[in-house]
Symmetry: C3
């Protein structure tokens, strides 16, 4: 790999880190700045699929409301530079969510507050460079597992094991 390619990878890593920091700190302008206008996302194996930056931000800020405290970590980037303005790549994801209030997007039975969700998976991203800056054109993740622990007992936890082990059905 050439030194100038390492600098491109570095720029893509920084983009991803800003995205995740925006997500966990609820800095929606920062999250918005990471996407192209026509970006598409397919979170959680496509359970949550959205198109267009404004639609994505509206969705995220509704689902990750004030009661939603998350820690998303991304690791193991395997990025392929396709040409000067296109790249794609895989990242490992682990995420912890503490629900401090009801959330209608998760859980069966519903999340009412006090639950902890933990999960793992792989992101499959596509990046484009616009006016010299890398942006996210497409982003989604496939789960290895997702777990919800209820406040009262671990015997009430929900475990969702994905037999595809992080390999996406779509995308």
């Amino acid at each position: 790999m050439k030194p100038e390619d390492l600098a491109e990878l570095h720029a893509i890593y920084q983009l991803k880190y800003r995205y995740v920091r925006g997500l966990d700190t609820h800095d929606w302008p920062l999250v918005a700045s990471c996407f192209t206008d026509d970006a598409r996302v397919w979170y959680n194996d496509g359970k949550f699929s959205k198109e267009g930056r404004e639609t994505i931000i509206g969705f995220l800020s509704e689902m990750l409301d004030e009661s939603f405290y998350s820690s998303h970590i991304v690791l193991h980037p395997e990025i392929e530079l396709i040409d000067a303005n296109n790249a794609k790549g895989i990242w490992r994801l682990e995420d912890i969510v503490h629900f401090s209030g009801p959330n209608s997007f998760f859980g069966n039975p519903p999340v009412t507050g006090g639950e902890e969700m933990t999960g793992a998976g792989y992101y499959y991203d596509e990046y484009v460079r616009l006016s010299g800056e890398w942006k996210i054109a497409s982003m989604g993740y496939a789960r290895l597992f997702e777990v919800i622990d209820r406040p009262d007992a671990r015997s009430q936890r929900e475990v969702d094991l994905n037999p595809r082990r992080g390999v996406p059905a779509t995308g």
Copy 2:
């Protein structure tokens, strides 16, 4: 970013990794070697603030005693090289602690042994280069959340959710 700047970032990453390895393995000389003489720290939003390398090491080796088993991981470095000898940066933190005995620094009710603490946050670091080697001049972190699980039941867990979501009140 220039190739020589990537090499500086690499050196700063190595410094941070040595620091965390020293912390989790209780290798206090290794931890000490990471700081400047007059370094300052403000762990846990300033709950634990100390100045001077010897004071910091004395504090850490007391709090992280033989009964304290930790795993700190640092990720998502967003480092800014200010000039040839100064840099600053943000890192994500996740930490797991297993208490195998009492610890007076944590918990309400007090930690007596058997508890597990999990947390997440952002480090805000400042680095200086002295005689060619990067050292930590200032380090602190702001929490996303911190959780203590009691040995008997998850219903007795302590959850501390930070409404500032990892953005520091000081530092």
Copy 3:
């Protein structure tokens, strides 16, 4: 560090990421492609030691059977390039395993399904370059801790705290 050395580190990082991805996705041909013919492993402080690529893959695919859902993450690489074709290094490890069925390799009392195992430690790896490609010649890890949570209650959890704090007894 020279730019061309950063490119070597990048290649070694990619090797490690492919290995871990193969492990968690049960892609055994991918895992096999990461090792030299005569590789040796000493997982879990040497509790599981094997020699030879085929022996290692046979062992892993038996222990990590269909009921075994894992998330291994590797961080904080401290890699030393010894010469053009040899390198060694330390990585931090954190791992989560969800057992969805019995597993005879873990647990006391035995794992019957529904357990969660969490652990942390340090990998100590050796790499060699063969025909221009980095491969794993030796890999093992020393634990910081390993925990098994039983499905019924956290009071039944198993906690194994390593007094060597991730420093290997062998290797």
